[in-house]
Subunit: 360 residues, 2 copies
Amino acid sequence: MALRHYTLDLSLSAAVDSAAIVPGLLSVFDEQEMTVTVHDTSGHGYLATLVGKNGRLAILRVHSHGLVTIDLQCYEDDNLAQIDNLLNALEKKLKVLLNGNITRIKRLPALVRGAKVDRYWPTTDGRMSEYDIDRVVYEEDSAYQNIKILHSRQYGNILVLNGDINLAESDLAYTQAIMGSGKENYAGKEVLILGGGDGGILAELVKQKPKMITMLEIDQKVIDGCKTHMRGTCGNILDNLKGDCYQILVEDCVPVLKKYVQEGRTFDYVINDLTAVPISTEPEEDSTWEFLRLILDLSMKVLHPSGKYFTQGNSVNLTEALSLYEEQLGKLSCCVDFSKEVVCVPSYMELWVFYTVWKK
Amino acid sequence: MALRHYTLDLSLSAAVDSAAIVPGLLSVFDEQEMTVTVHDTSGHGYLATLVGKNGRLAILRVHSHGLVTIDLQCYEDDNLAQIDNLLNALEKKLKVLLNGNITRIKRLPALVRGAKVDRYWPTTDGRMSEYDIDRVVYEEDSAYQNIKILHSRQYGNILVLNGDINLAESDLAYTQAIMGSGKENYAGKEVLILGGGDGGILAELVKQKPKMITMLEIDQKVIDGCKTHMRGTCGNILDNLKGDCYQILVEDCVPVLKKYVQEGRTFDYVINDLTAVPISTEPEEDSTWEFLRLILDLSMKVLHPSGKYFTQGNSVNLTEALSLYEEQLGKLSCCVDFSKEVVCVPSYMELWVFYTVWKK
């Protein structure tokens, strides 16, 4: 059973003597039959914990520098209206006790901890974000990754790979961006997709009548999950691994790319829908950058001299990771140029950078 | 000084005996010199509070139904690397102690409580969301409202009125949606904007060479703030209250609309950029709905028979508020029809409904 964690914080224009407000606050708790423990903080303000029935816990802190924080934890099956009333009463009492001294009252949505369905998926740049996810639609551990498809009220189903939000049914903007934002003409062209197991790019591409699309997706279980649960993204395109102008090879793209290089095969477009730019720049992540450069190098080798390579980058706020990626572009075995675009992908809750790369 | 609040939660496949893990966990805290208090929870699991130096506080709960929660509070100027190490050590120890019994480990971004600049602006549908806001650019209390302009790394400056995110410099999508999503031809037309003090609609409209745009914005201080700090939205359009094809009247729109009705004046387009649909459906909010209906009724009276009325609705998840709004459309003094569109406005972090209304 989940734990609901409420917070109520008051920022003050001046420090307040805890003796002036604590009795009033404790009186609000009186009818809740909670056991109060006052702790010694060695001069860091007033701190009391209150333990009540049904696993309720409150923490009352009057910090020594003009801040009052209250935490309230209860179980999901508690009387939530009563909890709400308690918080209302505390807020009301504090407004009276601190009259004129309050610069901000902040009462955040309750954190729901240990819920069956997890709604918290922080952004890539490390900010808290809560999704309107109400159920898990699909969950599998494949040989390669943990695959989840979660249902969001507003975004439709969301594909999550190893804990990373990949794509939601609302995210046509992602697919359009990684296809060149409507500025390309794919008719009669040879296209290679790396990854793309959700089928979004493939489904949009076939509408443009290219000569042939080859998609290299390593994970059959991603295809299986998306085929059933991400139809807002892939339509019926994943129902068959082959069609008039496309083929899906369920294979690791690296050996296939190497084979294409050997055969001298080229493509007008290579769309890399594999992984985001590695976030960490730690030494142990070197292998990720190496992998990324390997893919880039192989892709350039199979790219027609006048062809284009599209890929997603990362959150616009991860400036260091983006710079490192751009550095990699300077280290390839052939000279390339690139442009980038910032796009709003609805379910990401952060702006995202997409790259276009071409041979100089 | 802000309080940083860390959480570390482990969901378990089966309940665990606290005696099996508590000593191990407490040993991790040992070198932190914290004073432990074990509380009586009347059968609701194990609960200990640990109070340390510099105002540090930890709460350790082993719930009786397969959940372990740890809270850790410290001040912003604490040794945050040490705090991180402590959390890492706790997580590592728990993984060993609960080996095979863990279904989820969740360590959320730290909540920053009582910070000088508030980064938490929950969505309209009540979800936690943290913005990448790093400074307050403008703050004024006008006769009508509290006006803030906050700087976001990714969204540019954000206008916040009475605590509601109104528009960011990144949000051209909002302006385009409330102008009919590029499907209208404003050339040579008479347009009325209600509100719109950020200047976004006005700046986009003038590009289309309408005959005349009249904008009714009540709050000079919104105009002043946006003129200086929202230039990504308004450009230089707010530098003058009058231009070749526009005039801004700094007035309450209601008496002006009434005057227009009396004069028999009509517009080809009325764009209501005033307030969102009231969220609450409580009786005390009746006046908000009445105000909304008054504006709608007056707008319809000044709307040319073949004209269009555009307005924002609300979060797509607030289905009840949206239904109530649509009900209001059936209660107007003239018969109307409407269509709606769901749009992703980058800084909103939730999908938003926009309405087009016209006379039947």
